[in-house]
């Protein structure tokens, strides 16, 4: 007869291993690299097959919308470079626009464009807006 204590220890161990396995397994399938534009370009071509996230500011002059085809093209830039983005994913955040900080998720393509399947915009925080003195 196995003691109750041992049974509980075994049950706990099984559970811990199962949760650990789930975490480990899911990380390896859903991990995405979070990179700057410069890092992304430096890692080509090895990075082509990998899902990545890149953050950048939207260059206002570059925005091209094609409502008919449902595509959105723009250039995201950060201090390390510029990245042309093609987005066909669907939802464009309400606040998307020139100078907005966005995060794109997708794959870097051999033609030098970033094929995004997800587009997130960071809300321009009200907290950071300082009140300006009235213009005299």
């Amino acid at each position: 007869m196995i003691s109750a204590k041992l049974k509980f220890a075994i049950a706990g161990l099984v559970l811990a291993v199962a949760v650990g396995y789930l975490i480990f397994n899911s990380v390896s399938t859903s991990a995405e690299y979070y990179m700057t534009v410069g890092e992304l370009k430096a890692k080509a071509p090895a990075i082509y097959s990998q899902n990545v996230r890149v953050a950048g500011l939207v260059d206002g002059a570059s925005i091209e919308k094609d409502a008919r085809a449902g595509t959105l093209k723009f250039t995201a830039e950060d201090s390390s470079g510029k990245l042309p983005v093609v987005y066909k994913g669907g939802a464009v955040p309400d606040i998307f626009g020139p100078g907005i900080q966005v995060v794109v998720e997708g794959k870097y393509a051999p033609d030098g464009t970033f094929q995004a399947d997800n587009l997130l915009a960071q809300c321009p925080s009200k907290y950071e807006d300082s009140v300006q003195p009235p213009a005299s």
């Binding site: 509980f8 949760v19 789930l22 991990a31 690299y33 409502a67 008919r68 669907g90 309400d94 009140v131």
Partner: protein, 665 residues
Amino acid sequence: MAALGSISLVSAFVLACYGLIASVVAIRQKLGDLVYSARNALLGMFGLVTLAGLTLIAGFLSHNYELQYVAEHSSNEMPPVYVIAAFYSGQQGSLLYWCWTLAIFSALVVWLSWKANRALMPYVTGVLCAMESFFLFLLAFIQSPFATLPFHVQDGNGLNPVLQDKGMLIHPPMMLMGYMSWSIPFAFGIAALLSGRLDFQWLRSIRRWTLAAFCIQSAGLILGAWWAYHVLGWGGYWGWDPVENAAFMPWLAGTAFLHSVMVQERRGMLKVWNLTLIMLAYLLAVFGTFIVRSGVLTSVHAFAQSSIGPYFFGWLAISIAVSVGLLVWRLPRLQGDSQFESLVSREASFLFNNWLLIGVIVAVFSGTVFPIISEAVRGEKITVGPPFFGAVNGPIFLALMVTMGIGPLLPWRRASRGLFVRNFLKPLSITAAALVLMVALGTRNPGAVLGYTACVFVMATLVFEFYRGTLARRRVTGKSTLAALGDLFVHHNRRYGGYLVHVGLVVAAVAIVGSQFYQLQRQVSLEPGQTASIGKYQLTFQGLTTTKDAEKTTTSATLTLPDGSAIHPGKSVWLRDDKNPTSEIVIRSTPFEDLYVVLSDWSPDKSVATLLLFVNPMVTWLWFGGIIVVIGTFVTAWPHQSASGGPRTAPRPAPAVREKELVTA
């Protein structure tokens, strides 16, 4: 006004510090009078924080732009309710809100729980004063909501239009109060450890406080989901964003505590575990506040990187050190009175439920902090998104559902085989029948089949519990079936209120499984006259119209359905703030699915509109489930009326008898 606010905060800080020191001295020197002095300091602090809070509200309502915080977060033409809501829309105000609600709860604690816990209260008072002194230090000296502008402005910046929604009036205050409310059980836990009074008394005192925290945070979470779904326009209600995760984790720890505490009450076991859980709930709440405010993690929620991150980190470190230190110090006094006897028993099922909830916490925590850890370890920032959380938590949630079905039907100590068969034969038969029916009807998605099977199983066990309880009650009292069922909620409210919470969770699970596995989504670009279909819906685009009013310009699409009705999803650009347009989402709810339409974009000549179409099955059930959870929590927390009348004071008498009565009924 600025002076009044600042002086109240500084004075409140001084009183909180005095309350802390007086408590320590009173305890060490055994000075009874000083205990009352500390209590009065706490009450005075409550009065002063209230004064500061009211001052800020008055500042907002009188558009006093001398106050920088008021100028940054409100404007002249904002409706008054949103002007008041702007109170907690920024860093300083939300800190003051937290501090204020904690002061209110602290005052309630010394008012309501003083008599029952005379020995503990000096310690509790001291811990509460320590917590308040931390917040008041930040508010008085680091991030004052009463800082003034060096120049005069005619109008303020106003509030982000997306926040000017009725959800803003209730979700953030509920959520912040939810975080805060874990402080009270934590304070009692620390007090119990410090005083060495580790019997069951302190746990009994915090039962309602913990239930209050559970209730407030459940409501905050469900309101957050509701707001995201109805306002933000991405078709979902939960995105495993760091801020959402941060709010979810204390709730999980608190839920685990509410279950395992029953094991200590009945069998005197799991003492260390219970203390650990209640401390974990508070520490996770502080951790959540820290990651949200410090800018360590990127989130879609707009919290600025701010200077208070390090202070919160320091407070978190101190809280962890104190909790762990005290726990280790008191370990010899925390031996269990009895031992687990069988894997198939009520207490074992509570333990499994706890382990699973901890598993969810570990998964959510590791997914949330993964970018930080991977950057530290490998120099690469790796994020894990919603698929990670779904893949890990899906199976654990399923296992939790199963324990939720099995646990309440198991007796304490050990279950005999005969009892096991008696209790589970019917629910399992129903579950098997439902499983066969589902597959026969063509449900093939394994996740959905398992999820709904678990829902049916839990629901079946709950229905049988209510059924047997009602029959037993009817036989004993001779009342009608309906009155007997009502009696269960009145005289056994703890148990059946808890079951009601379970019912709410099953209803919510039905929604989550349905929308997780059967959501339809498509993006279409339509010219006038063209028709798009999604699910059973056919939408014909008629054209775009633009309307203007004093505040905003709204562009709406007109879409007609075959039954002749029309919907008008649109997008509004606000005059004050043209960088933050808001979506006017159309949601057509039916009991079994929502049609959810967002106008995403249109061509400059307005000849083409891009629309996002979703069909979200069962989502309405989520809101009902949430409401049932809150009601169930109220029922279970209601002052107990024993069958003979009068509140219960002694521990539950001879529970085994009642158990048997229910089983044989």
